[in-house]
């Protein structure tokens, strides 16, 4: 309701005649500036990626994305996303549930810690694992004695990605669940539903769009992460190179077209993500409207 008040404000008869022309100018200026900025810094580079990718023809393009190293990079990237995203989705729901439905000591501390990966540079996130698991790290000698390899291997990459993408789902759900409050759950419990049933039938339907949105952001980041993964990867071709690392390698080997071919593949995925994201937002809005209409 508060939104409606502010929208109505300019329509009040006092301001209407005098200031109409200036806001319009400002409005157009702002729109042009924003669009110009977007074109220059987003659309243009994106177009450039695709132009460069197909510069040497589609044969080079398809060779680049079907070479064994590229395929292994794609496979590894997908594997890492498939492991980290479900884990972080579960963690995100659990954390958001705990933070919003219960009161306990250290709650704000928990929220702050969840945000930490956003604040810390990915390089540092990677170095943390080097400190912990490298052969001179805290757990290094023990790991070596038991012949467990974490760093410079797939587990290290999974861990680093897990840490970087940790806040996405939780951060998306906490504000949503906060505004929703605990009334629905309390009603369900009072009517005799178990906690699990309440979660499945009451909470989950309420948060589903937020959850999906968080999962999509989380997936996008898990696939695109460079910094932290670069630190723990060891850059072994065909073994521990993810797609972003593979792009860097190709670029450094003067295989510009191939580098941009793989980059365009990632860009396509990013665009696809955005479309799905918008679809979800639109659906969420529609379902909210229809629910409101129903009452």
């Amino acid at each position: 309701m508060a939104g409606h008040v502010s929208i109505q404000y300019p329509h009040s008869p006092v301001n209407r005649t005098m200031k109409e022309s200036e806001p319009r100018l400002v409005k157009w200026l702002l729109i042009t500036a924003a669009l110009g900025f977007l074109c220059l810094f987003l659309v243009l580079p994106l177009v450039a990626i695709f132009i460069k990718a197909f510069e040497k023809g589609s044969a080079v393009f398809s060779a680049a994305i079907s070479s064994p190293d590229a395929l292994s990079a794609i496979r590894l990237t997908v594997l890492v996303a498939l492991i980290t995203v479900p884990l972080n989705a579960i963690f995100g729901v659990a954390a958001a549930w705990a933070v919003t439905k219960f009161n306990f000591k250290g709650k704000s501390l928990l929220i702050t810690i969840i945000d930490l990966p956003f604040a810390v540079s990915p390089v540092i996130a990677g170095l943390v694992f080097v400190l912990l698991f490298s052969s001179h790290g805290i757990f290094g000698p023990w790991l070596q004695a038991h012949n467990i390899k974490i760093i410079f291997e797939v587990p290290g990459i999974v861990l680093a990605t897990l840490l970087i993408t940790l806040p996405f789902v939780a951060r998306e759900l906490i504000p949503l669940m906060q505004t929703q409050g605990t009334a629905d759950e309390e009603a369900s419990m009072t009517l005799g539903a178990s906690g699990w049933k309440t979660f499945l039938l009451v909470t989950l339907p309420n948060i589903k769009w937020g959850l999906l949105y968080g999962i999509i952001l989380c997936t996008a980041r898990a696939i695109g992460e460079f910094g932290a993964v670069s630190v723990v990867s060891g850059h072994i071709r065909g073994v521990t190179n993810t797609m972003p690392l593979h792009i860097e390698i190709l670029y450094n080997e003067y295989q510009f077209s191939a580098a941009f071919a793989v980059a365009s593949l990632m860009s396509l995925f990013a665009i696809f993500t955005l479309v799905v994201k918008n679809l979800i937002e639109w659906k969420a809005k529609k379902s909210m409207v229809s629910e409101e209409g129903g009452f």
Binding site: L79, L82, I83, V85, P86, L87, A89, V130, F133, S134, S135, H136, G137, G140, Q144, K149, I151, F152, V154, L200, L201, L204, P205, K208, L211, L212, G234, H235, I236, R237, G238, V239, I249, N252, E253, Y254
Partner: protein, 354 residues
């Protein structure tokens, strides 16, 4: 409510499928690795070669040749995995636990570090293979734009006003350290060893450096792709590679009157090969670099072969240059590193960031 139920079901299904995928593919890859491990002992073996930046093309070709040779000789399938990056950074990764069977780095100092800090190989590693454990050498040359518009002929020209020089940062790049020492040697020869004059020469040279990249490849990209600078101080092989990849019509190589004999060494990492049981094949791999076949591949990739006959064969590619060596001129890498590149060393004294 029914609609909501449907969505919930879909969501749960999705979650189950997703997590299911995660675990099954995880198991698959585990199975793969375990089967790989059992196979390893019998008829296939894997080596990891941790190397520095400009050797990518060299080892790509050499690895194929060696695999074939090893297969014919022993019937064993050998796969060589490669990791490339700045030499110092790669050495650091090996110390931190990157399980390299062999290291092929830009300078002996980085392997010394693996021996000292990591304790992964014995300190006398450099005596284990012929020629200081360096099967190929290189040197430092200049890359300039076609036609040499600024008329750059020797190190002295790099200190002139208005010349923009590209070289990487000696603190992080092995190649950059060779660049620095080559310039130093030239200045010392010219000034009869007067250190004050030499330092002044270096100060003027590094004042002309426009971009100080962190690695050799980065510096090449700055010069070639971004078009910054009048001259790139580079590895000879890197300069040749640039000509081939990006056009002889755009750049040309200038050979200075004096340069340095760059010896990028190779070594088997004892602790790793003992653990993995790959000692025999790792040693054979490095020894193969010294064979005629190996030396030929080395020369083809613009590294100077140790084998004199093959060097003669490629004499038109590698001009004779007056070369100083790190051992004779600078008293070895340890001393050079301490004097020039440690905190407060000569580089810190002469270089002021812009």
């Amino acid at each position: 409510m029914k609609i909501i139920h449907k969505y919930t079901l879909v969501l749960i299904l999705l979650a189950v499928i997703l997590s299911g995928c995660g675990t099954t593919s995880g198991q698959n890859s585990k199975k793969e690795t375990s089967s790989r491990e059992t196979a390893k002992k019998k008829d296939s073996v894997q080596l990891l070669n941790v190397s520095y930046d400009p050797t990518r093309e060299l080892y790509e070709e050499f690895n194929k040749e060696f695999s074939q040779y090893w297969k014919e000789k022993t019937g064993q399938e050998v796969t060589i995995q490669q990791s490339h990056g700045g030499s110092g950074k790669q050495g650091r990764a090996v110390i931190d636990g990157l399980e390299a069977d062999v290291v092929t780095l830009a300078l002996a100092y980085d392997i010394d570090e693996i021996a000292d800090k990591g304790g992964l190989l014995s300190k006398d590693w450099q005596k284990k293979l012929k020629d200081n454990s360096t099967p190929y050498t290189s040197t430092i040359v200049f890359l300039v734009k076609k036609g040499n518009p600024k008329g750059i002929k020797d190190w002295g020209d790099l200190t002139k006003k208005g010349i923009s020089v590209i070289t990487p940062n000696p603190k992080t790049s092995g190649g950059a350290r060779w660049n620095y020492l080559a310039a130093w040697a030239y200045a010392q020869e010219k000034d009869n060893g007067e250190e004050v004059k030499t330092k002044d020469f270096m100060r003027r040279l590094y004042k002309n450096v426009e971009v100080l990249d962190s690695g050799a490849r980065g510096a090449t990209t700055t010069f070639v792709e971004r078009g910054i600078g009048d001259v790139l101080i580079a590895w000879e092989n890197e300069a040749f590679l640039t000509l081939n990849e990006l056009g002889k019509d755009k750049f040309e190589i200038v050979v200075p009157s004096l340069s340095i004999l760059a010896e990028p060494p190779v070594a088997v990492v004892d602790k790793v090969v003992d653990k993995k049981g790959t000692k025999e094949v790792a040693e054979a791999y490095l020894n193969y670099l010294y064979t005629e076949k190996g030396q030929e591949i080395v020369a083809k990739n613009y590294y100077r072969p140790r084998n004199q006959a093959i060097l003669e064969k490629y004499a038109d590619v590698f001009p004779k240059i007056n070369l100083v060596t790190i051992d004779d001129y600078f008293g070895g890498w340890k001393k050079a590193q301490d004097e020039h590149f440690s905190d407060g060393g000569t580089f810190d004294q002469i270089y002021q960031p812009k």
